[in-house]
């Protein structure tokens, strides 16, 4: 029944009901939002408070905002400039993205588009590594890299990215490539294209959404990674932002909550920027493959 058939009174009542429902819905959603955002807003407020006020006071925002917590970071951590940690993290994150995009898309192309002997077996093995806890590989990989003299270098943190170890991204790209029409390949084959041409000129450009999702997740995972750098890096000038922050926390203890929180927020900025710019890709990628951030 269309609303016109019900007459103006019924229509107004329906609108009122919808308005009330909408209000209740927004109220509920905003309540959840308040809980979710509370820690972050508290941290932003706290980073502008003097140290005594941070834990002692229940106010979200400072009575008199100060910038000393941020200004103090200009001295660096343990005589190392904050920018060093940032450029180290950036180098690792960008290096990881390049590696994942190349190696995972090559493997995914083979799984999705080439009929080779043993494909099903390898695909099963790849899916098996999806659920494998990383910690089983922690000790033997460390032993391997130690024997190769690669401790305190970035190689252990990057090598896996160039060897398609991140099965999640292979899987994501396989799913995407399988949905591309087969006729494209066949037409290209008739024109005399080999697999490399098809991969590079046809499949990769069509896979852009999957590639972007993989790139963003790789960047964020690399930026947030803590255990890898903790184990492999021991020279503070090679530390990532995560390790620098941990070193700062150990050094200052509770005496400098303000500085710690200010540094924490700065460390989150790149991740938040990526999130704001690409949230559609992230959420759609999540929804289709259950990727973890």
């Amino acid at each position: 029944m269309s609303s016109a058939a019900r007459g103006p009174y019924a229509r107004a009542a329906a609108r009122r009901r919808r308005g009330a429902g909408s209000l209740a819905w927004h109220f509920g959603s905003l309540a959840v939002l308040a809980v979710v955002l509370y820690p972050v807003i508290w941290a932003i407020g706290g980073s502008f408070k003097p140290n005594e006020e941070i834990v002692g006071s229940l106010d979200l925002f400072p009575t008199e905002p100060i910038v000393a917590n941020y200004a103090g970071l200009a001295d660096g951590i343990a005589d190392i400039s904050i920018t060093t940690f940032f450029s180290n993290s950036l180098f690792l994150a960008v290096g990881s993205v390049v590696g994942v995009l190349i190696s995972c898309s090559l493997a995914a192309y083979a799984f999705a588009r080439i009929r080779f002997a043993g494909r099903n077996l390898l695909f099963a093995l790849m899916i098996g590594t999806l659920l494998l806890p990383y910690h089983v590989l922690l000790i033997p990989q460390y032993v391997l890299f130690q024997k190769m003299g690669l401790i305190n270098t970035y190689t252990p943190l990057l090598l896996g990215k160039y060897l398609a170890v991140d099965a999640f991204f292979v899987f994501l790209m396989v799913q995407f490539m399988r949905n591309l029409p087969k006729e494209l390949d066949e037409a290209a084959r008739l024109d005399g294209c080999g697999h490399l041409r098809i991969y590079w000129s046809i499949v990769l450009p069509l896979c852009r959404p999957a590639l972007i999702t993989s790139a963003i997740f790789t960047f964020i995972n690399s930026w947030n990674d803590f255990m890898g750098p903790l184990i492999y890096l021991n020279d503070p000038s090679k530390y990532t932002v995560s390790l620098g922050l941990k070193m700062f926390v150990d050094q200052e203890g509770v005496a400098n909550y303000g500085g710690m929180i200010a540094m924490s927020l700065i460390a989150l900025l790149p991740v938040l920027a990526f999130f704001l710019a690409f949230q559609r890709y992230l959420i759609d990628g999540m929804a289709t493959s259950g990727l973890k951030g």
């Binding site: 939002l33 080779f116 922690l138 803590f226 999130f275 959420i283």
Partner: protein
């Protein structure tokens, strides 16, 4: 979504239907044989980075780790075979048992709470209203930053003595535990709160599942006079059970592997990274301590294999149980 589920169920299922390959041994025309060899070579070349990674960084290390588990190995002297000694030491170690207890409690309490929050908020959001995309993005954000050292630092401050949670607890419940992060009993709940806070990732997956439930089912149920609760129990839950299964599996496996947040939140002065009286000694923290602080590579490998077995067992039980409660649609849409 459906594709994900199907592939997880039958991992080896290859892509779209293809022409059946001629059985081995039959004589093919020379051109077809050349073509098949060409496909094998191309497949091998495209797979070679993955293959190298699999052999060098996954399969090889797993075999090595299994060997180390039966040795005494400190990284500098050659590994010495000691049979099951690592395992007997592990089972007899009260700290190891404590770490198992802490981790299981974290998984058993944290995962259901997180999934309940995710499903609850997904049901709330699953309406055609303006602002839905905004809320969805905002609730998802903590999942991206929750595992970072930054949030762990903020968490430690929020749950410390005299901070907001401590004061609320004193004012409302009259309990003074001196801040959750300083209390052996309570610190684990600050970590559970941190994982529940990251409900956004499973929520997004639930939302995708809820969108696929056909409207007609609800309309038919409404005609039959089914109330909200009946509709949820008899329609929504069965229809999204594949998504629920996927979330339970993923979140449980991830929970077992918590490390960074426990290491930071539990880390105090004096180099103890495991919380007051080992209150936040999660399994991987103890593995790290044994492997990298005490240089007990053999023992740590044995611990890692126990973790793998636990995760494999949970996965197997979940896959076995899905016959009883997960409803896959017969016809693929």
């Amino acid at each position: 979504m459906g594709g994900t589920m199907a592939s997880l169920r039958t991992p080896a299922a290859p892509a779209a239907p293809e022409k059946p390959a001629p059985p081995r041994g039959t004589r093919l025309p020379a051109a077809a044989r050349r073509r098949r060899r060409g496909e094998n070579v191309a497949g091998f070349l495209f797979m070679s980075p993955w293959l190298a990674g699999f052999l060098l960084l996954t399969a090889g290390p797993m075999i090595a780790s299994l060997y180390f588990a039966f040795t005494d190995y400190n990284l500098f002297d050659a590994p010495r075979w000691i049979g099951l000694d690592n395992f007997t030491e592990m089972f007899g170690d009260p700290r190891w048992r404590k770490s198992v207890e802490v981790t299981l409690w974290y998984v058993v309490v944290g995962t259901p709470l997180k999934l309940a929050a995710a499903l609850g908020v997904a049901l709330l959001l699953n309406q055609k209203r303006r602002g839905q995309a905004f809320y969805r993005a905002a609730f998802y954000a903590p999942s991206l930053i929750g595992a970072s050292v930054s949030i762990a630092v903020v968490w430690k401050a929020i749950f410390s003595d005299d901070a907001i949670v401590d004061r609320t607890q004193r004012a409302v419940f009259g309990m003074d535990v001196g801040g959750w992060t300083g209390d052996p009993q309570w610190i684990i709940y600050s970590l559970i709160a941190l994982t529940v806070w990251q409900f956004g990732a499973p929520m997004v997956i639930f939302l995708a599942g809820l969108k696929q439930v056909p409207r007609e089912l609800y309309e038919a149920a409404e005609v039959d006079g089914a109330g909200t609760w009946r509709r949820f129990w008899n329609i929504t839950l069965p229809m999204i059970s594949p998504v629920l299964f996927f979330n339970v599996l993923l979140e449980t496996i991830h929970s077992f592997q918590i490390f960074a947040s426990a290491y930071i939140v539990g880390g105090g002065a004096g180099g103890n990274a495991c919380g007051p009286a080992d209150g936040s000694l999660v399994y991987t923290c103890y593995l790290y301590v044994q492997g990298f602080e005490n240089s007990r590579m053999g023992l740590a490998s044995a611990m890692a294999w126990m973790l793998l077995l636990a995760v494999a067992l949970v996965t197997a039980v979940l896959f076995w149980s899905q016959k009883r409660w997960v409803h896959y649609e017969e016809a693929s849409r």
